[in-house]
Amino acid sequence: MKRVQLQRWSSTVLSPRAQTASRLHQHVFPAGSRCQSTASPLQAESSAQEGLGDSGFEDVELMKHVRSAHRRKDMLKYPSPPVDAALNSAKLAALHARLYLPSRLPPQTLARALVDASADSNPDFNNESLATLGHDLLTYYTTEHLLCTYPRLPLTVIFAAMYAYAGPKTLAAMAREWGVEHASLPGGEVDPGLLQFRRVAPGSDLNVLYNKRTPRPYAAQKAWRMTVTSKIFYDDEFGDAIKGPENSGEGVTAELASATFVRAVMGAIYLHAGRPAAKRFFEQHFLSRHLNISQLFNFSQPARDLARLCARENFEPPVARIISETGRKSRHPVFVVGIFSGQDKLGEGAGASLIEARERAALAALKGWYLYSPLNVRVPSSMEEEGAAPWKPVYVDLGEVIV
Protein backbone atom coordinates (compact mmCIF):
# COMPACT_ATOMS: atom_id res chain seq x y z
CA MET A 1 0.00 0.00 0.00
CA LYS A 2 1.45 3.35 -0.94
CA ARG A 3 1.84 5.85 1.83
CA VAL A 4 0.26 9.27 1.56
CA GLN A 5 2.51 12.27 1.98
CA LEU A 6 1.13 13.48 5.25
CA GLN A 7 3.26 16.54 5.56
CA ARG A 8 1.56 17.95 2.54
CA TRP A 9 -1.79 17.02 4.03
CA SER A 10 -1.27 18.86 7.21
CA SER A 11 -1.67 22.21 5.56
CA THR A 12 -4.75 21.14 3.65
CA VAL A 13 -6.61 19.83 6.66
CA LEU A 14 -6.31 23.14 8.40
CA SER A 15 -9.29 25.32 7.63
CA PRO A 16 -8.88 28.35 5.36
CA ARG A 17 -9.14 30.69 8.34
CA ALA A 18 -6.36 28.77 10.03
CA GLN A 19 -4.08 28.99 7.02
CA THR A 20 -4.37 32.71 6.60
CA ALA A 21 -3.87 33.22 10.30
CA SER A 22 -0.73 31.16 10.39
CA ARG A 23 0.63 33.00 7.39
CA LEU A 24 -0.15 36.28 9.07
CA HIS A 25 1.43 35.00 12.19
CA GLN A 26 4.75 34.29 10.55
CA HIS A 27 5.14 38.00 10.02
CA VAL A 28 3.89 39.17 13.34
CA PHE A 29 5.64 36.79 15.72
CA PRO A 30 9.19 35.52 15.54
CA ALA A 31 9.28 31.82 14.82
CA GLY A 32 9.52 29.51 17.80
CA SER A 33 8.22 31.98 20.36
CA ARG A 34 6.19 30.33 23.05
CA CYS A 35 3.43 32.00 24.92
CA GLN A 36 3.33 29.91 28.01
CA SER A 37 2.97 32.64 30.56
CA THR A 38 0.21 34.77 29.12
CA ALA A 39 -2.92 34.59 31.18
CA SER A 40 -5.30 35.44 28.38
CA PRO A 41 -4.99 35.43 24.62
CA LEU A 42 -6.62 38.86 24.57
CA GLN A 43 -3.38 40.48 25.64
CA ALA A 44 -1.86 40.13 22.20
CA GLU A 45 -2.78 43.29 20.45
CA SER A 46 -0.52 43.17 17.49
CA SER A 47 -2.69 41.23 15.06
CA ALA A 48 -5.98 43.13 15.03
CA GLN A 49 -5.02 46.64 14.19
CA GLU A 50 -6.72 46.80 10.85
CA GLY A 51 -10.15 47.01 12.48
CA LEU A 52 -9.48 50.50 13.72
CA GLY A 53 -8.24 53.36 11.56
CA ASP A 54 -4.97 55.00 12.38
CA SER A 55 -6.59 58.41 12.54
CA GLY A 56 -7.62 59.31 16.07
CA PHE A 57 -6.01 59.95 19.36
CA GLU A 58 -2.44 60.99 19.89
CA ASP A 59 -2.23 59.23 23.23
CA VAL A 60 -0.61 55.85 22.60
CA GLU A 61 -1.72 54.31 25.88
CA LEU A 62 -5.33 55.31 25.36
CA MET A 63 -5.21 54.10 21.77
CA LYS A 64 -3.88 50.76 22.95
CA HIS A 65 -6.73 50.45 25.41
CA VAL A 66 -9.33 51.36 22.82
CA ARG A 67 -7.88 48.89 20.34
CA SER A 68 -7.95 46.06 22.81
CA ALA A 69 -11.56 46.90 23.70
CA HIS A 70 -12.51 46.83 20.02
CA ARG A 71 -10.71 43.57 19.55
CA ARG A 72 -12.57 42.07 22.47
CA LYS A 73 -15.84 43.25 20.98
CA ASP A 74 -14.89 41.75 17.61
CA MET A 75 -14.26 38.42 19.24
CA LEU A 76 -17.73 38.35 20.74
CA LYS A 77 -19.12 37.97 17.24
CA TYR A 78 -17.64 34.51 16.73
CA PRO A 79 -19.22 31.37 18.18
CA SER A 80 -15.76 29.93 18.88
CA PRO A 81 -12.32 31.54 19.37
CA PRO A 82 -10.59 32.80 16.21
CA VAL A 83 -7.79 30.64 14.92
CA ASP A 84 -4.97 33.09 15.65
CA ALA A 85 -5.90 33.06 19.34
CA ALA A 86 -4.65 29.47 19.50
CA LEU A 87 -1.05 30.63 19.21
CA ASN A 88 -1.42 32.89 22.22
CA SER A 89 -3.11 30.51 24.59
CA ALA A 90 -0.97 29.29 27.47
CA LYS A 91 -3.50 26.60 28.37
CA LEU A 92 -3.44 25.19 24.88
CA ALA A 93 0.37 25.13 24.71
CA ALA A 94 0.49 23.43 28.09
CA LEU A 95 -2.07 20.80 27.00
CA HIS A 96 -0.10 20.19 23.81
CA ALA A 97 3.08 19.61 25.81
CA ARG A 98 1.33 17.57 28.53
CA LEU A 99 0.06 15.03 26.01
CA TYR A 100 3.44 14.90 24.22
CA LEU A 101 1.63 15.60 20.97
CA PRO A 102 3.85 15.58 17.88
CA SER A 103 5.20 18.99 16.93
CA ARG A 104 3.70 18.57 13.49
CA LEU A 105 0.27 18.88 15.08
CA PRO A 106 -0.22 22.65 15.24
CA PRO A 107 -1.96 24.28 18.20
CA GLN A 108 -4.66 25.55 15.83
CA THR A 109 -5.83 22.00 15.19
CA LEU A 110 -5.75 21.20 18.89
CA ALA A 111 -7.86 24.30 19.48
CA ARG A 112 -10.28 23.10 16.82
CA ALA A 113 -10.49 19.70 18.52
CA LEU A 114 -11.67 21.52 21.64
CA VAL A 115 -14.67 23.11 19.90
CA ASP A 116 -17.73 20.91 19.96
CA ALA A 117 -20.37 20.99 17.24
CA SER A 118 -22.88 22.32 19.78
CA ALA A 119 -20.66 25.39 20.31
CA ASP A 120 -19.86 26.16 16.67
CA SER A 121 -22.13 24.59 14.09
CA ASN A 122 -19.78 25.47 11.21
CA PRO A 123 -18.08 22.18 10.23
CA ASP A 124 -14.94 24.09 9.22
CA PHE A 125 -14.35 25.18 12.80
CA ASN A 126 -15.71 22.38 15.01
CA ASN A 127 -14.25 19.00 15.80
CA GLU A 128 -16.96 16.84 14.23
CA SER A 129 -14.94 15.67 11.24
CA LEU A 130 -11.81 15.01 13.33
CA ALA A 131 -13.88 13.11 15.88
CA THR A 132 -15.46 10.91 13.20
CA LEU A 133 -12.03 9.92 11.93
CA GLY A 134 -10.67 9.46 15.45
CA HIS A 135 -13.63 7.31 16.45
CA ASP A 136 -13.12 5.00 13.48
CA LEU A 137 -9.40 4.67 14.26
CA LEU A 138 -10.01 4.05 17.95
CA THR A 139 -12.61 1.38 17.40
CA TYR A 140 -10.54 -0.27 14.68
CA TYR A 141 -7.40 -0.50 16.80
CA THR A 142 -9.37 -1.70 19.82
CA THR A 143 -11.25 -4.31 17.84
CA GLU A 144 -8.18 -5.81 16.23
CA HIS A 145 -6.39 -5.89 19.58
CA LEU A 146 -9.28 -7.70 21.27
CA LEU A 147 -9.99 -10.14 18.45
CA CYS A 148 -6.35 -11.14 18.01
CA THR A 149 -5.45 -11.26 21.71
CA TYR A 150 -8.57 -13.07 22.90
CA PRO A 151 -9.90 -14.94 19.87
CA ARG A 152 -12.46 -16.96 21.83
CA LEU A 153 -14.26 -14.13 23.63
CA PRO A 154 -18.05 -14.22 23.32
CA LEU A 155 -19.43 -11.33 21.33
CA THR A 156 -21.26 -9.77 24.27
CA VAL A 157 -17.99 -9.67 26.20
CA ILE A 158 -16.23 -8.13 23.20
CA PHE A 159 -18.89 -5.42 23.17
CA ALA A 160 -18.29 -4.81 26.88
CA ALA A 161 -14.51 -4.72 26.43
CA MET A 162 -14.87 -2.31 23.50
CA TYR A 163 -17.00 -0.10 25.69
CA ALA A 164 -14.43 -0.27 28.46
CA TYR A 165 -11.53 0.69 26.19
CA ALA A 166 -13.13 3.20 23.83
CA GLY A 167 -16.58 3.96 25.23
CA PRO A 168 -17.67 7.52 25.96
CA LYS A 169 -17.35 7.05 29.71
CA THR A 170 -13.70 6.05 29.43
CA LEU A 171 -12.92 8.83 26.99
CA ALA A 172 -14.51 11.39 29.29
CA ALA A 173 -12.42 10.07 32.19
CA MET A 174 -9.32 10.37 30.02
CA ALA A 175 -10.09 13.96 29.12
CA ARG A 176 -10.43 14.66 32.83
CA GLU A 177 -7.11 12.95 33.54
CA TRP A 178 -5.47 15.02 30.81
CA GLY A 179 -6.46 18.13 32.73
CA VAL A 180 -8.88 19.51 30.16
CA GLU A 181 -11.09 22.20 31.66
CA HIS A 182 -14.53 23.15 30.43
CA ALA A 183 -15.59 26.64 29.43
CA SER A 184 -18.85 27.58 31.09
CA LEU A 185 -20.16 28.99 27.81
CA PRO A 186 -18.64 28.85 24.33
CA GLY A 187 -17.75 32.08 22.58
CA GLY A 188 -15.14 33.93 20.57
CA GLU A 189 -13.58 35.55 23.62
CA VAL A 190 -13.02 32.29 25.50
CA ASP A 191 -9.51 30.91 25.98
CA PRO A 192 -9.02 28.34 23.17
CA GLY A 193 -7.45 25.94 25.68
CA LEU A 194 -10.82 25.24 27.24
CA LEU A 195 -13.28 22.61 26.01
CA GLN A 196 -16.19 24.47 24.50
CA PHE A 197 -19.68 23.05 24.19
CA ARG A 198 -23.22 24.12 24.85
CA ARG A 199 -24.55 22.34 27.90
CA VAL A 200 -27.84 20.52 28.15
CA ALA A 201 -30.46 22.49 30.02
CA PRO A 202 -30.85 21.13 33.56
CA GLY A 203 -33.76 18.76 33.95
CA SER A 204 -34.00 17.79 30.29
CA ASP A 205 -34.61 14.15 29.45
CA LEU A 206 -31.56 12.73 27.70
CA ASN A 207 -33.49 9.85 26.16
CA VAL A 208 -35.73 12.30 24.37
CA LEU A 209 -32.81 14.56 23.50
CA TYR A 210 -30.75 11.90 21.74
CA ASN A 211 -33.49 10.41 19.67
CA LYS A 212 -32.66 6.89 18.80
CA ARG A 213 -32.93 6.63 15.04
CA THR A 214 -31.75 3.08 14.76
CA PRO A 215 -31.85 1.24 11.43
CA ARG A 216 -33.20 -1.82 13.26
CA PRO A 217 -36.65 -2.85 12.05
CA TYR A 218 -39.39 -3.04 14.67
CA ALA A 219 -37.24 -1.04 17.08
CA ALA A 220 -40.38 0.19 18.82
CA GLN A 221 -41.19 -3.32 19.99
CA LYS A 222 -39.26 -3.22 23.23
CA ALA A 223 -40.37 -6.66 24.37
CA TRP A 224 -39.08 -8.45 21.30
CA ARG A 225 -35.96 -10.51 21.57
CA MET A 226 -32.79 -8.96 20.16
CA THR A 227 -30.21 -11.51 19.08
CA VAL A 228 -26.51 -10.91 19.49
CA THR A 229 -25.99 -11.38 15.76
CA SER A 230 -28.48 -8.62 14.98
CA LYS A 231 -26.45 -6.28 17.16
CA ILE A 232 -23.58 -6.60 14.70
CA PHE A 233 -25.77 -5.42 11.86
CA TYR A 234 -27.97 -2.81 13.43
CA ASP A 235 -26.14 -1.47 16.49
CA ASP A 236 -22.91 0.40 17.14
CA GLU A 237 -19.55 -1.08 18.16
CA PHE A 238 -20.57 -1.27 21.81
CA GLY A 239 -23.74 -3.27 21.13
CA ASP A 240 -25.96 -0.27 21.91
CA ALA A 241 -28.62 1.16 19.65
CA ILE A 242 -27.21 3.74 17.23
CA LYS A 243 -28.10 7.21 18.38
CA GLY A 244 -29.40 9.64 15.80
CA PRO A 245 -27.91 13.08 15.33
CA GLU A 246 -28.46 15.35 18.29
CA ASN A 247 -31.07 18.01 17.93
CA SER A 248 -29.12 21.10 16.99
CA GLY A 249 -29.01 23.85 19.56
CA GLU A 250 -30.02 21.56 22.39
CA GLY A 251 -26.52 21.09 23.75
CA VAL A 252 -24.58 18.03 24.79
CA THR A 253 -23.56 16.51 28.09
CA ALA A 254 -20.06 17.15 29.40
CA GLU A 255 -19.31 13.44 29.07
CA LEU A 256 -20.20 13.36 25.39
CA ALA A 257 -18.30 16.57 24.61
CA SER A 258 -15.18 15.28 26.39
CA ALA A 259 -15.40 11.97 24.50
CA THR A 260 -15.72 13.83 21.20
CA PHE A 261 -12.64 15.87 22.09
CA VAL A 262 -10.52 12.78 22.78
CA ARG A 263 -11.63 11.22 19.50
CA ALA A 264 -10.83 14.45 17.69
CA VAL A 265 -7.30 14.48 19.14
CA MET A 266 -6.81 10.96 17.80
CA GLY A 267 -8.04 12.02 14.35
CA ALA A 268 -5.86 15.13 14.39
CA ILE A 269 -2.74 13.11 15.22
CA TYR A 270 -3.51 10.74 12.38
CA LEU A 271 -3.94 13.59 9.91
CA HIS A 272 -0.93 15.64 10.93
CA ALA A 273 1.63 13.10 12.15
CA GLY A 274 0.59 9.96 10.32
CA ARG A 275 -0.38 6.42 11.09
CA PRO A 276 2.60 5.35 13.25
CA ALA A 277 2.12 8.33 15.56
CA ALA A 278 -1.61 7.62 15.87
CA LYS A 279 -0.92 3.97 16.68
CA ARG A 280 1.67 4.96 19.27
CA PHE A 281 -0.74 7.43 20.84
CA PHE A 282 -3.39 4.69 21.00
CA GLU A 283 -1.02 2.23 22.65
CA GLN A 284 0.28 4.76 25.16
CA HIS A 285 -3.00 6.30 26.21
CA PHE A 286 -5.71 3.72 25.56
CA LEU A 287 -4.21 0.25 25.56
CA SER A 288 -2.04 0.96 28.59
CA ARG A 289 -5.11 1.39 30.77
CA HIS A 290 -6.01 -1.43 33.11
CA LEU A 291 -8.88 -3.77 32.29
CA ASN A 292 -9.45 -7.20 33.80
CA ILE A 293 -11.32 -8.98 31.02
CA SER A 294 -12.14 -11.97 33.22
CA GLN A 295 -14.43 -9.72 35.24
CA LEU A 296 -16.59 -8.82 32.26
CA PHE A 297 -18.40 -12.17 32.13
CA ASN A 298 -21.91 -12.56 33.49
CA PHE A 299 -22.97 -16.19 33.14
CA SER A 300 -26.51 -17.21 33.97
CA GLN A 301 -26.08 -21.01 33.79
CA PRO A 302 -22.40 -21.89 33.59
CA ALA A 303 -22.86 -25.62 34.11
CA ARG A 304 -25.21 -25.88 31.15
CA ASP A 305 -22.92 -23.77 28.95
CA LEU A 306 -19.96 -25.96 29.85
CA ALA A 307 -21.87 -29.12 28.98
CA ARG A 308 -22.75 -27.69 25.56
CA LEU A 309 -19.21 -26.54 25.00
CA CYS A 310 -17.82 -30.01 25.77
CA ALA A 311 -20.37 -31.55 23.42
CA ARG A 312 -19.35 -29.18 20.64
CA GLU A 313 -15.62 -29.74 21.09
CA ASN A 314 -16.06 -33.53 21.36
CA PHE A 315 -14.74 -33.63 24.93
CA GLU A 316 -16.16 -36.13 27.33
CA PRO A 317 -19.17 -34.74 29.18
CA PRO A 318 -18.11 -32.72 32.24
CA VAL A 319 -18.49 -34.32 35.66
CA ALA A 320 -18.28 -32.47 38.97
CA ARG A 321 -16.35 -34.19 41.76
CA ILE A 322 -15.55 -33.13 45.30
CA ILE A 323 -11.84 -32.56 45.74
CA SER A 324 -11.94 -31.71 49.42
CA GLU A 325 -14.40 -30.48 51.99
CA THR A 326 -14.52 -29.28 55.55
CA GLY A 327 -17.23 -28.76 58.14
CA ARG A 328 -20.12 -30.34 56.23
CA LYS A 329 -22.28 -30.34 59.37
CA SER A 330 -21.03 -27.01 60.66
CA ARG A 331 -22.38 -23.51 60.18
CA HIS A 332 -19.88 -22.62 57.51
CA PRO A 333 -18.87 -25.60 55.42
CA VAL A 334 -16.48 -25.28 52.50
CA PHE A 335 -16.48 -27.59 49.52
CA VAL A 336 -13.84 -27.63 46.84
CA VAL A 337 -15.30 -29.06 43.65
CA GLY A 338 -13.49 -29.81 40.41
CA ILE A 339 -15.07 -30.26 37.00
CA PHE A 340 -13.54 -33.12 35.07
CA SER A 341 -13.85 -34.17 31.49
CA GLY A 342 -12.53 -37.69 31.52
CA GLN A 343 -9.13 -37.46 33.23
CA ASP A 344 -8.68 -33.71 32.57
CA LYS A 345 -9.61 -31.21 35.23
CA LEU A 346 -11.26 -28.28 33.46
CA GLY A 347 -11.83 -26.05 36.45
CA GLU A 348 -12.06 -25.87 40.19
CA GLY A 349 -14.03 -23.78 42.63
CA ALA A 350 -14.72 -23.47 46.34
CA GLY A 351 -18.10 -22.63 47.80
CA ALA A 352 -20.24 -22.84 50.89
CA SER A 353 -22.55 -25.38 49.29
CA LEU A 354 -22.02 -28.14 46.78
CA ILE A 355 -24.07 -26.31 44.16
CA GLU A 356 -22.23 -23.06 44.64
CA ALA A 357 -18.88 -24.80 44.41
CA ARG A 358 -19.95 -26.59 41.23
CA GLU A 359 -21.12 -23.33 39.65
CA ARG A 360 -17.82 -21.68 40.50
CA ALA A 361 -15.89 -24.59 39.07
CA ALA A 362 -17.90 -24.47 35.84
CA LEU A 363 -17.31 -20.73 35.68
CA ALA A 364 -13.57 -21.20 36.07
CA ALA A 365 -13.61 -23.84 33.33
CA LEU A 366 -15.56 -21.59 30.95
CA LYS A 367 -13.30 -18.61 31.61
CA GLY A 368 -10.28 -20.82 31.04
CA TRP A 369 -11.68 -21.64 27.62
CA TYR A 370 -12.90 -18.21 26.59
CA LEU A 371 -9.84 -16.29 27.84
CA TYR A 372 -7.40 -18.31 25.77
CA SER A 373 -4.76 -15.99 24.38
CA PRO A 374 -2.15 -17.10 21.83
CA LEU A 375 1.47 -16.16 22.35
CA ASN A 376 3.22 -13.47 20.31
CA VAL A 377 0.06 -11.97 18.90
CA ARG A 378 0.30 -9.67 15.92
CA VAL A 379 -2.49 -7.41 14.80
CA PRO A 380 -3.27 -6.73 11.12
CA SER A 381 -2.30 -3.05 11.40
CA SER A 382 1.25 -4.09 12.35
CA MET A 383 1.70 -4.94 8.67
CA GLU A 384 1.59 -1.21 7.93
CA GLU A 385 4.97 -0.73 9.61
CA GLU A 386 8.05 -0.51 7.47
CA GLY A 387 9.84 -3.80 7.01
CA ALA A 388 7.17 -5.88 8.71
CA ALA A 389 7.62 -9.66 8.72
CA PRO A 390 5.30 -11.65 6.43
CA TRP A 391 1.82 -12.04 7.82
CA LYS A 392 0.91 -15.27 9.51
CA PRO A 393 -2.81 -15.86 9.94
CA VAL A 394 -4.07 -15.31 13.47
CA TYR A 395 -6.10 -17.88 15.35
CA VAL A 396 -9.79 -17.66 14.51
CA ASP A 397 -12.19 -19.49 16.77
CA LEU A 398 -15.56 -21.05 16.07
CA GLY A 399 -17.12 -18.56 18.44
CA GLU A 400 -19.11 -18.87 21.60
CA VAL A 401 -21.26 -21.84 22.33
CA ILE A 402 -24.90 -21.43 21.33
CA VAL A 403 -27.35 -22.47 24.00
Partner: protein, 137 residues
Protein backbone atom coordinates in the same frame (compact mmCIF):
# COMPACT_ATOMS: atom_id res chain seq x y z
CA UNK B 1 -28.55 -15.79 26.38
CA UNK B 2 -25.54 -17.83 27.54
CA UNK B 3 -23.28 -15.03 28.72
CA UNK B 4 -23.68 -11.30 29.07
CA UNK B 5 -20.98 -8.64 29.14
CA UNK B 6 -20.63 -6.32 32.11
CA UNK B 7 -19.97 -2.71 31.18
CA UNK B 8 -17.06 -1.13 33.02
CA UNK B 9 -14.45 1.54 32.48
CA UNK B 10 -10.72 0.97 32.17
CA UNK B 11 -8.60 2.35 35.00
CA UNK B 12 -5.80 4.80 34.34
CA UNK B 13 -2.22 3.79 35.09
CA UNK B 14 -0.28 7.00 34.77
CA UNK B 15 3.22 6.27 33.60
CA UNK B 16 2.59 2.76 32.27
CA UNK B 17 2.05 4.10 28.77
CA UNK B 18 2.19 7.86 28.70
CA UNK B 19 3.00 9.97 31.71
CA UNK B 20 0.84 12.99 32.39
CA UNK B 21 2.39 15.55 34.71
CA UNK B 22 -0.18 16.16 37.44
CA UNK B 23 0.67 19.82 38.02
CA UNK B 24 -1.18 21.77 35.38
CA UNK B 25 -0.72 25.36 36.52
CA UNK B 26 1.64 27.38 38.71
CA UNK B 27 0.68 30.84 39.90
CA UNK B 28 3.46 33.15 41.04
CA UNK B 29 2.31 36.06 43.18
CA UNK B 30 4.61 38.89 44.20
CA UNK B 31 4.49 42.39 45.62
CA UNK B 32 6.36 45.27 44.03
CA UNK B 33 7.04 47.09 47.30
CA UNK B 34 7.35 44.55 50.06
CA UNK B 35 10.86 43.53 51.12
CA UNK B 36 9.86 39.90 51.44
CA UNK B 37 9.31 39.78 47.67
CA UNK B 38 12.85 40.81 46.80
CA UNK B 39 14.00 37.25 46.15
CA UNK B 40 10.78 36.49 44.27
CA UNK B 41 11.29 39.48 41.95
CA UNK B 42 14.80 38.28 41.16
CA UNK B 43 13.46 34.77 40.58
CA UNK B 44 10.78 36.03 38.20
CA UNK B 45 13.24 37.96 36.09
CA UNK B 46 16.17 35.54 36.10
CA UNK B 47 15.09 31.97 36.76
CA UNK B 48 11.46 31.72 35.72
CA UNK B 49 11.97 31.94 31.92
CA UNK B 50 14.29 28.96 32.07
CA UNK B 51 11.97 27.05 34.40
CA UNK B 52 9.07 27.68 32.03
CA UNK B 53 11.08 26.52 29.04
CA UNK B 54 12.03 23.29 30.77
CA UNK B 55 8.45 22.55 31.85
CA UNK B 56 6.17 23.30 28.91
CA UNK B 57 3.40 21.12 30.39
CA UNK B 58 2.75 23.71 33.08
CA UNK B 59 0.78 26.85 32.47
CA UNK B 60 2.47 29.70 34.32
CA UNK B 61 0.77 32.83 35.56
CA UNK B 62 2.54 35.76 37.19
CA UNK B 63 0.45 38.35 38.97
CA UNK B 64 1.03 40.96 41.65
CA UNK B 65 -0.57 40.71 45.08
CA UNK B 66 -0.23 44.04 46.73
CA UNK B 67 1.05 44.21 50.33
CA UNK B 68 1.20 40.45 50.73
CA UNK B 69 3.98 37.94 51.02
CA UNK B 70 4.97 36.26 47.74
CA UNK B 71 3.51 32.80 47.20
CA UNK B 72 3.59 30.03 44.62
CA UNK B 73 0.36 28.16 44.06
CA UNK B 74 0.11 24.88 42.15
CA UNK B 75 -3.11 23.65 40.53
CA UNK B 76 -3.42 19.94 39.93
CA UNK B 77 -5.37 17.67 37.63
CA UNK B 78 -7.29 16.12 40.50
CA UNK B 79 -8.75 19.56 41.26
CA UNK B 80 -6.75 20.28 44.40
CA UNK B 81 -4.27 23.09 44.85
CA UNK B 82 -1.19 23.59 46.97
CA UNK B 83 0.45 26.85 47.88
CA UNK B 84 3.81 27.66 49.40
CA UNK B 85 4.76 30.99 50.92
CA UNK B 86 8.22 32.05 49.71
CA UNK B 87 8.77 35.19 51.77
CA UNK B 88 12.40 36.32 52.24
CA UNK B 89 13.71 33.37 50.19
CA UNK B 90 16.56 33.48 47.75
CA UNK B 91 15.86 32.69 44.07
CA UNK B 92 17.54 29.26 44.37
CA UNK B 93 15.31 28.33 47.32
CA UNK B 94 12.25 29.57 45.46
CA UNK B 95 13.22 27.33 42.55
CA UNK B 96 13.39 24.39 44.94
CA UNK B 97 9.90 25.22 46.20
CA UNK B 98 8.62 25.47 42.63
CA UNK B 99 10.12 22.05 41.91
CA UNK B 100 8.30 20.62 44.94
CA UNK B 101 5.00 21.90 43.57
CA UNK B 102 5.84 20.69 40.08
CA UNK B 103 6.63 17.15 41.19
CA UNK B 104 3.66 16.80 43.54
CA UNK B 105 0.70 14.68 42.51
CA UNK B 106 -1.81 16.99 44.12
CA UNK B 107 -2.94 14.37 46.62
CA UNK B 108 -2.64 14.96 50.34
CA UNK B 109 0.61 13.62 51.67
CA UNK B 110 0.17 10.27 53.35
CA UNK B 111 2.31 7.50 54.72
CA UNK B 112 2.85 4.67 52.25
CA UNK B 113 2.67 1.50 54.32
CA UNK B 114 2.82 -1.07 51.52
CA UNK B 115 5.93 -1.33 49.38
CA UNK B 116 3.88 -1.91 46.22
CA UNK B 117 0.48 -0.63 45.17
CA UNK B 118 -0.89 -2.36 42.09
CA UNK B 119 -4.09 -3.01 40.22
CA UNK B 120 -2.82 -6.42 39.13
CA UNK B 121 -3.59 -9.40 41.29
CA UNK B 122 -0.67 -11.12 42.96
CA UNK B 123 1.17 -13.62 40.81
CA UNK B 124 1.51 -16.08 43.66
CA UNK B 125 -2.20 -16.04 44.50
CA UNK B 126 -3.94 -16.03 47.85
CA UNK B 127 -3.17 -18.81 50.29
CA UNK B 128 -5.88 -21.43 50.48
CA UNK B 129 -6.39 -23.68 53.50
CA UNK B 130 -7.93 -26.42 51.37
CA UNK B 131 -5.01 -27.04 49.07
CA UNK B 132 -1.51 -28.38 49.51
CA UNK B 133 -0.20 -30.88 52.03
CA UNK B 134 -1.89 -31.35 55.36
CA UNK B 135 0.46 -30.87 58.26
CA UNK B 136 0.02 -32.89 61.40
CA UNK B 137 -0.32 -31.03 64.63
Amino acid sequence: MPVKGIKTVTAARNGVGAFILQCKRLDFHYCNYGGSSRGMLAFLTQTLPNFARENPQIEIRVSPRHSKHPIIKGHYINGREKSICVRNLEPTDILAKAMILKDASGEKLKVQKKPVTSLNESVRGIWSPYHGDLRGV
